[in-house]
Symmetry: C2
Subunit: 304 residues, 2 copies
């Protein structure tokens, strides 16, 4: 057991998966959860997601050794302000937000000096959300990035690291600004692009939605999967990682224009070289164990 | 059995999967294959992909009732010119190219009047290519679009339809221009966008390739899967479906700029509404059976 009592503030995909994973591995003595919505709390009680589901964040953090902020980024500051005075001395507060600089700015001012604040971000997710969407293996073989400050207590950091490793994750440390840039490239810009493409398809009058849906296996399907992610979460991600996301989107547009020009002018060599280069990145991801080499875009290869 | 002898010109993912599928379902008396590359022919012989592997397309089409052009789009015209004089009267020629107008223009002039030319396009694929990449179930529950002309013989069309249905596909008919527009939306533009995003990530000096690869599970991974597709095939697709692809990319850029502006100005409502709308398209694809609802982006949910 790593923490005697863990408080989960917010009971969506990530917190729910943490509850399952902590239980499976016996990492927490007691798991207390809360969510702003009464519906969510009701579902969490019905499925026994936590040992106790309480009405407010203030109740949840009473006596907790670890408090996990798992609410949309835009709500982090208000939650921190609410719980700040009620945190146990020596406790650790962490979060699971996809952006780190904005979360630190919103949360840190409300955390008392006697409490360790160690921002975090597990790089794991699915296109599903809500208290029923979690599962114990979500973090297995995935990365969790921790963003300690210069003054972070090494022991508190080691404990939080052990918790994530206990849930199956690999842990890396990174500073907040670099985190936000890396995530703009690997996650935020790709999500915005997927959302955009799905929106374009929906708008195109001459191609019916039925056609888009029927014929999606030709590539579009993989975009819709990431474009189905939680709208509130993603709105907050883009608004709070504005600069890095806009920078990457600017580079993306530049590159896209170059490829469009190659298509328009019939420059097959440019296209061929570009596509050959991108293939090697894919190979790297498979070798790094972050995806499988199974064909048909990750679906099963029956009969083999 | 639907055809006594089928000739496969080109032995990549699609033709290879057709060979497996036709055998499994007993749809062809004899399957003869050929490929331009001696290596490919050698591998096809080694793994027994066809009943016979021959050196040239001219040999392959001798006495064939069905000839399948399964070469990159840019090579279709030359192959058609080569085989045209050697086709059996009453035979059917089809193709599996991802673009239809350009293939028709390149191939039709070389097909004798005694031969039925019925263009086709199975909407199925993986990111793998080559003679070893095929498997019998590739077309199961996927769509195959046939593009008959006004003068197409109904009986020849019915036979080709029966072949695809025998391999597990659903068949729709469509005219060439509409096909090319639908595919620009559901496949060609998404592929170019995925290629671009992967290229941008690779270029960004401040984020290392190692970081991009390690942290790819946050969304980027799904882009790399489609950006790993065969470079030659995709070069030809973009060059031969230039107008529709550029039109869709133009709309995409417009829409992307609107979302970028929403991010820059902090218009959360615009973003939230957009993301909510794209989520419903995803639901439609799952209901249409073109993907599963399994979480973690199509990967298995262990322990459930």
């Amino acid at each position: 057991m790593i923490y005697d009592r863990v408080a989960l503030i917010g009971l969506g995909l990530i917190a729910g998966s943490m509850a399952h994973a902590m239980r499976c591995a016996g990492l927490a003595g007691e798991i207390v959860g809360t969510a702003r919505s009464a519906d969510t709390r009701g579902v969490a009680r019905d499925i026994g997601l936590c040992d106790r589901v309480v009405e407010t964040a203030v109740e949840a953090v009473q006596g907790a050794d670890l408090v996990v902020l798992a609410v949309p980024i835009g709500a982090m500051g208000a939650v921190a302000e609410e719980i700040g005075p009620h945190l146990k001395a020596g406790a650790t507060v962490t979060d699971v937000g996809s952006v780190k600089r904005a979360v630190i700015e919103a949360v840190a001012p409300h955390i008392p000096h006697s409490v360790h604040f160690i921002p975090g971000h597990p790089l794991a997710g699915t296109e599903h959300s809500g208290p029923r969407s979690g599962f114990a293996s979500l973090f297995e073989n995935r990365w969790c990035l921790l963003v300690p400050g210069a003054a972070t207590d090494p022991e508190a950091l080691a404990r939080l690291r052990a918790l994530w490793e206990g849930m199956g994750a690999h842990v890396d440390e990174m500073d907040a600004d670099h985190h936000d840039l890396v995530l703009a490239v690997t996650s935020h810009a790709p999500h915005l692009i997927a959302y955009t493409m799905v929106g374009v398809a929906d708008d195109l009058r001459r191609v019916t939605d039925t056609e888009v849906i029927k014929y999606s296996a030709a590539g579009f399907r993989d975009f819709t999967r990431i474009a189905a992610s939680d709208p509130t979460m993603w709105r907050d991600v883009f608004l709070s990682n504005k600069d890095a996301t806009l920078e990457i989107l600017g580079r993306f547009t530049e590159e896209l224009f170059a490829l469009q020009r190659a298509i328009r002018t019939g420059d097959g060599e440019h296209l061929f070289e570009y596509f050959t280069r991108t293939r090697t990145i894919r190979r790297g991801i498979i070798e790094a164990g972050q995806d499988t080499d199974a064909p048909d875009f990750g679906r099963a290869k029956p009969g083999s």
